[in-house]
């Protein structure tokens, strides 16, 4: 449920590090809480994101949640497939449901993120 090779943000986003690129998406817990995702509002390539600030929104039929960036940097790729198939976020939150790829301005920000274990503890407390 919470792959150990990923790092997690308290607002339920995950990061997979690929060199100097952070791949970002939302966790299984988050997509489960949301229910069926109907729309993901993402920024565009070239935009800047800042750690702990919102970069977009994700909607289910009856709710909206903000999406928070775990890192700072420039967006190098956005997952356009989510326009036509937002439900991919539910089906493969860690795989095809990824949202952004960001070139990290400051990789040391990753140290502030949680391990899979710590994240699981967090969500147990929340639930």
């Amino acid at each position: 449920m919470y792959p150990s090779d990923l790092k997690y943000h308290k607002e339920h986003e995950w990061v997979r590090v690929e060199g100097d690129i952070a791949v970002i998406g939302i966790s299984h817990f988050a997509q489960d809480q949301l229910g069926e995702v109907v729309y993901v509002d993402l920024p565009t390539e070239g935009d800047e994101v800042t750690a702990d600030e919102t970069f977009g929104e994700i909607e289910s039929v009856k709710s909206v949640s903000e999406l928070y960036s775990p890192v700072t940097g420039e967006i190098v790729e956005v997952n356009g497939a989510l326009d036509d198939a937002p439900e991919t976020v539910n089906e493969e939150p860690y795989g095809e449901g990824w949202m952004l790829k960001v070139r990290m301005a400051d990789p040391s920000e990753l140290d502030a993120l949680m391990s899979a274990e710590d994240y699981e503890t967090l969500i147990q407390d929340e639930a």
Partner: protein, 497 residues
């Protein structure tokens, strides 16, 4: 094109939608809408300066019998107050008297043009004036505008008056305090009025956490926006302390009047220290909901705020009644004077019931709600175990915890029992909320039927939880794929090629 006959799994034709009105084409005689043209005919393109339409709009082409049948079928798929009980919390789905419908349609009302000379509409002006007075008396806030078209519109109107008031006294502020139990229109209104929302929590008794409120109050707060009785159906015993605390920092107190049905003739928001309130004529005063509207949201204010009301309002003149614009009016919040057709209905209701009838309505509404609560509190969790007003909140948490059955499932199953579900998942501060408001126009038999249905469903939650998750079974359509509707919006009919 043949009519699509959809079928339910057991082979019976669906009672649900059967194709739109556009798909019913008939051979139509030349339009008989208007008599033959009796003036010289000019080319449309010339008259419109070259703007004639190339392709006529694709409207339905049907005869009256097809229209009658089409809408008869649509009506058969609908549940209204006339069909059965509708215990929707905060909506006050009381009976819509037919005499009100007739009144609004009298040619002397329906045929009035808004710019007719005042001398030719004295009856209408007198009606509006007397309605202003009546609402002012019920609210305990004597100065009234009938202009706003809906409750949310009234909220916005009042908060804009507050803004004008503060600006006039040279004291611009930037925040409005609302409780966490507030209806969604409240924060949306605050934003539209150019203010930011400060939210305060509710306390263990379901009222506003007064200490937290006091902490949040400072001279940057323009207003406190409350509902009383609140969205949990509870009367906030600290209401006077709250409005007082607001006034002490120079803030104004606004009352969302959605729950006025609990207190007519018993208590008045003006006497609780509120400076303004809106009233929902389509809730408390029996005007019909119409499938979503039109409503009407008159705003009642203190004499201090009267100068800021949108104009015109109706006042007495030397020889009757006339329109006047308040001296520091915020202007207009819509065209013309208000939803007059709705005002006529509310006026008829108030005149018919009189003080005695309104008082009785509120009293019975409160008795009926407490009766339901007393009969349901064993089978369902009651988050706030205290006397309620005209509505109360249950929680479906026990059913969720023990059987995996959610409030949504309970609501859908109620449809099979022939009743409209209560309000669900509101207020947000109660998990799996069910907000129940019977109103005073339900008979005891009807109330008992509702209780029986709720108790039966509680049993079903235990014995057949899976069944509940796929309810309803007997309605014209089954549970809908709402995710599909949101992901792939089809928002108009299109001809298939």
């Amino acid at each position: 094109m043949t009519e699509r006959l959809a079928h339910t799994p057991d082979g019976a034709p669906t009672r649900g939608p059967r194709g739109t009105i556009f798909e019913q084409r008939s051979v139509r005689a030349q339009s008989d809408v208007v008599a033959q043209l009796d003036v010289p005919e000019l080319p449309v393109d010339d008259m419109l300066g070259g703007r004639a339409r190339e392709n006529a709009p694709e409207l339905p082409n049907v005869t009256e019998v097809q229209i009658a049948r089409h809408y008869a079928h649509l009506a058969s798929m609908n549940f209204g107050v006339d069909t059965g009980s509708y215990p929707l919390g905060s909506c006050t789905m009381k009976y819509n008297p037919r005499v009100n419908e007739d009144a609004a349609r009298l040619p002397g009302f329906a045929g009035l043009h808004p710019y007719q000379p005042e001398s030719s509409v004295q009856g209408a002006l007198r009606l509006m004036f007397e309605l202003q007075e009546a609402l002012g008396e019920i609210a305990g806030l004597p100065e009234v505008t009938l202009q706003p078209a809906a409750g949310a519109h009234g909220e916005l109107t009042a908060i804009m008056c507050f803004r004008a008031f503060h600006e006039h006294t040279g004291d611009a502020r930037s925040r409005v305090i609302i409780p966490d139990s507030a209806h969604g229109t409240n924060p949306a209104t605050v934003s539209m009025a150019g203010y930011t929302v400060t939210q305060v929590p509710s306390n263990g008794r379901g009222g506003v956490d007064v200490a937290a409120l006091r902490d949040a109050l400072d001279t940057d707060v323009a207003a406190v926006m409350l509902t009383n009785p609140n969205t949990l159906g509870l009367f906030d015993e600290n209401i006077c302390a709250i409005t007082d605390a607001a006034h002490q920092v120079g803030a104004l107190a606004y009352c969302d009047g959605a729950n006025l049905n609990a207190i007519m003739g018993i208590a008045r928001p003006g006497d609780m220290g509120f400076d303004a309130m809106h009233i929902n004529l389509h809730k408390t005063f029996s005007t019909p909901h119409g499938g979503g509207g039109p409503g009407s949201g008159p705003v009642c204010v203190t004499p201090e705020l009267a100068p800021y009301l949108p104009g015109p309002v109706v006042a007495r003149t030397d020889d009757g009644y006339g329109f006047v614009v308040p001296e520091r009016s915020i202007g207009r919040v819509r065209s013309f004077f208000g939803n007059f057709g709705v005002l006529v209905r509310a006026y008829a209701y108030i005149m018919g019931l009189g003080a005695q009838g309104l008082h009785e309505a509120s009293e019975q509404a409160v008795v009926s709600a407490n009766y339901l609560k007393a009969r349901l509190c064993a089978a369902y969790d009651v988050p706030y175990d205290r006397t309620c007003m005209h509505e109360f909140v249950l929680s479906g948490m026990r059913q969720r915890r023990e059987h995996g059955v959610r409030t949504l499932d309970i609501a859908k199953r109620l449809l099979d029992y022939g009743t409209h579900p209560p309000t669900v998942y509101f207020p947000l501060i109660v998990d799996e909320a069910l907000m129940i408001e019977p109103t005073e126009t339900e008979s005891l038999a009807e109330l008992d039927r509702f209780v029986d249905a709720m108790l039966a469903i509680a049993q079903e939650a235990q014995a057949e939880p899976e069944m509940l998750k796929h309810a309803p079974y007997t309605t014209p359509v089954r549970r809908l794929d709402e995710a599909r509707a949101a992901r792939d919006p089809q928002l108009r009919w299109r001809p298939t090629e």
